[in-house]
């Protein structure tokens, strides 16, 4: 009797083909698992998947909403790519986003009665600075005191959210707001211009696309991008080549923080228009999934941000039309990442079937 059993063998070179296919496999497996979850919950899986993934983008408004959600995700994710390429695990983008919103939004609140062309650019720059400062704290602590950046960047998320909470119920509270925890509305010129009449998709999308294009150039054409990649693959080789690791860590965190800060600012001066407690539905954490699903590659990140943005829209619709709790969106996001990481095995290893004698 012969039988065949699977065996895992190391590839000489990581497979380029698998590198592209694995994210697709992960998304398909998630859809499959999703349909099982929906049937277990007692819903018609075909109808549920349709409500979740197709009906939200079946009209112009829905497509615009997809881009509204994908904008901050893609922007944060491209920033995270700078960190992850260098093997730095900055998971505090949510805090950097919040700080960007506080810094840039603070300008908007201070000049609430000013209508002038310089207001929005100033807010974007100050928002980027706010995010970058918040991002550089874990970098400083890592370089100076050898602390683990995963834990410090995460602690700073909680601190940033509490600062925002303090501001919107305290000093920045809207004097005419009937003690609601929110600030004054920004002036018209502090808002992101809309790209199409009647749709919410805004100028933040253009900023995101420009920054992603610049990042593509940095990653593939500049010495800095090369240094990031080398020190990510092999810190020893990078040190031998004389790259300044500390500078790379500072820059990666600062760029990531700035991107998250702009994302936060473009949320509050885009769809929201003022500051309040819940400015972000976990964009900073979800962007981690976008970065991995997009393979740290600019084009991949754009595609992944659209896929993950769809889970936000789908979850809203599923709650609205089928009374499925909205948190199912986060479950799907976690599942995508699980499948992606599991299927990554196929990139570096191949499965062969050996004959068992």
């Amino acid at each position: 009797m012969f039988s065949y059993y699977p065996s895992i063998i190391v590839r000489g070179q990581p497979s380029v083909l698998m590198n592209i296919f694995v994210p697709v496999i992960a998304v398909l497996l998630t859809l499959f698992t999703g349909s099982i979850i929906f049937s277990l919950m007692g819903y018609n899986p075909i109808f549920a998947l349709y409500t979740f993934f197709i009906s939200p983008i079946s009209n112009a408004y829905g497509v615009s909403e997809l881009f509204v959600k994908a904008t901050p995700l893609a922007l944060i994710a491209i920033g995270l790519a700078y960190c992850f390429k260098n093997n730095i695990y900055n998971i505090g983008a949510e805090g950097q986003l919040t700080m960007g919103a506080i810094f840039g939004g603070g300008i908007g609140i201070y000049f609430y009665d000013v209508n002038s062309f310089w207001l929005l650019p100033l807010m974007i720059i100050v928002g980027a600075i706010g995010g970058a400062i918040w991002g550089m704290i874990p970098a400083f602590l890592k370089i100076k005191f050898n602390t683990n950046e995963i834990l410090t960047s995460l602690m700073l998320v909680y601190i940033a959210i509490l600062i925002l909470d303090y501001l919107v119920v305290g000093p920045w509270k809207d004097p005419d707001g009937y003690s609601f925890p929110k600030t004054r509305a920004f002036s018209e010129s502090a808002r992101m211009p809309l790209l199409f009449q009647g749709l919410r998709v805004h100028f933040g999308l253009i900023i995101t696309l420009i920054l992603i294009f610049i990042s593509w150039f940095v990653f593939s054409k500049t010495m800095f991008g090369f240094q990031l990649k080398v020190s990510g693959y092999s810190p020893i080789a990078a040190r031998y080549a004389g790259f300044n690791q500390n500078t790379l860590i500072y820059l990666a965190f600062a760029i990531c923080g700035a991107c998250a800060g702009i994302a936060g600012l473009s949320e509050v001066s885009g769809p929201i228009g003022l500051l309040y407690r819940d400015i972000s539905p976990n964009y900073g954490f979800t962007a981690i999934i976008v970065t991995f699903l997009g393979r740290l590659h600019p084009l991949g990140i754009i595609l992944a941000s659209l896929v993950i943005a769809l889970t936000y829209l789908g979850a809203e619709d599923a709650q609205l039309f089928m009374q499925i709790p909205q948190a199912v969106g986060f479950v799907f996001q976690g599942l995508v990442l699980f499948y992606l990481l599991g299927a990554d095995l196929l990139v570096n290893y191949k499965i062969v079937f050996k004959k068992n004698i």
Partner: protein
Amino acid sequence: MNIDLIIGIINIVLIATTPLVFAAIGELVTEKSGVLNLGVEGMMLVGAVTAFVTLVLTGSYILAFLISILSGLIMSGLFAYLVLILMSNQVATGLALTIFGIGLSSMIGKQFIGTPIQGLNPYFFIALSFAIVFGVSYFFYKTKKGLIFRAVGESHSSAHALGYSVIKIRLLGILFGGAMCALAGSYMSICYAPMWQENMTSGRGWIALALVVFSTWKPNRILIGAYIFGGVSIMQMNLQAFGLSIPGQFFNMAPYLATMIVLVLISSNKLRIKMSAPASLTKPFYKGR
């Protein structure tokens, strides 16, 4: 200061610190086997919600804790399959576990927010947390199996060459961590709170991870770290009660700031961290089948 007040404070500190002890000792065992599991927060949340929902549906406390621990075993088993068999990146997989756990717990608990339950007396669990810490310490430093366990975390290739099953030992370490995190979560939703609320662990899972670094991977020091931490957190509450006119949000920042300060103090001695961290931490094991 009278004696009643002091006893009252000690009581509150004991009750508030216990979930940190459970989660941190679980994670310490996982890390001792050479695996870093960042899913603590997610496993705690799922543990908390499954215990709560089971209690509401069946009314049985024992069943609630059993189901909760089972959920921890399943969650950590999923993690173990990914990092041990499929050799995925441990940091990313742990993050995925936390994101998944946050979503899953709020999905399960959606219709149970605000459901009242009869809280359970916490003293048994406080005693249990001490017993587990001392038990782990005894296992690691007084038994042969504990020595083998630590060897797997220090050098998996050597342990493998000596004929010990690296994968099996790491699986046990990960499962123990998952069970402890779920216990921490169920303690929170049934004894400490007692209620279910989305994200009710509010970062305690991450603080537990920091406590493992603080302990420099020595079980007994988990207790020291956790109780210093619990003491500081309670002290800020009392200062608030004395009527200092500082906004509440700044008091709420104290645990997170304290965690960062602790990490700075303990990590700045690079050599100490290098000497005490398990040498194979986060390194995948491939035996070349």
